[in-house]
């Protein structure tokens, strides 16, 4: 298994544009979480999705949205990009054991977004 995969690796956008980031979880993992990591800081939680439903939301504006597909992959969308959205966006997946979640999150390599 390649682990959690994210695409694209890097991208550059202009202020005001829209961006879509993609994440594929580890096979069998049904939960996906998104984090934003600004340079010099730790990851900050944006969303968690499980079984295609939003299960948690961090303190981010409505310009940020996400969804999860039937195959458990996920997309993070950011509208009206601001310079401050420049960051590394991390995706993490976690397994579930029956209806009980497992605690460990497996992180992807991230997507580096630069807004100019």
């Amino acid at each position: 298994d390649a682990g959690v995969t994210q695409s694209p690796t890097h991208l550059i956008k202009t202020r005001g544009q829209h961006v879509t980031l993609r994440c594929s979880p580890i096979s069998g993992h049904k939960s996906v979480s998104w984090y934003q990591q600004v340079l010099g800081q730790g990851p900050q939680f944006i969303f968690q999705y499980y079984e295609k439903e939003e299960r948690g939301r961090g303190n981010f504006p409505d310009r940020f949205s996400a969804r999860q597909f039937p195959n458990y992959s996920s997309e993070l969308n950011v509208n009206a990009l601001l310079l401050g959205d420049s960051a590394l966006y991390l995706c993490a997946s976690s397994a579930t054991s029956g209806t009980r979640p497992r605690y460990e999150q497996y992180f992807g390599p991230g997507t580096r977004l630069t807004v100019t």
């Binding site: 682990g3 959690v4 939960s31 996906v32 979480s33 984090y35 010099g40 800081q41 730790g42 990851p43 900050q44 939680f45 968690q48 499980y50 299960r55 948690g56 961090g58 991390l90 993490a92 976690s94 979640p101 605690y103 460990e104 999150q105 497996y106 992180f107 992807g108 390599p109």
Partner: protein, 111 residues
């Protein structure tokens, strides 16, 4: 407000010396505490969690609820311990996929 504080941005130690990474948290309740590590050119990965009370790669971490701390320790640092270390917490009412991270401590072990 819940917060995770790692006071040291950079910790430089010699090989064979003890290393301690500090983590303090503020949370009104009983959160779960974790240490995640990121080695150079690798992904962020779980190192250990307080509930397990285990030693991973020689590292241990003790949860001190009175001092609200979860410091990471290793008695004899190795060069392969050079990495970025993040302390993280999850509140008991948080979704299980939500972690709050500290800013991280860069550990450099020199021979």
């Amino acid at each position: 407000a819940q917060r995770v504080t790692q006071p040291e941005k950079l910790l430089s130690v010699f090989k064979g010396a003890p290393v301690e990474l500090k983590c303090n948290y503020s949370y009104s309740g009983s959160p779960e505490l974790f240490w995640y590590v990121q080695y150079s050119r690798q992904r962020l990965q779980l190192l250990l969690r307080h509930i397990s009370r285990e030693s991973i790669k020689g590292f241990t971490a003790d949860l001190n609820k009175g001092e609200t701390s979860f410091h990471l320790k290793k008695p004899f640092a190795q060069e392969e311990d050079s990495a970025m270390y993040y302390c993280a917490l999850r509140g008991p009412t948080d979704s299980w996929g939500k972690l709050q991270f500290g800013a991280g401590t860069q550990v450099v072990v020199t021979p």
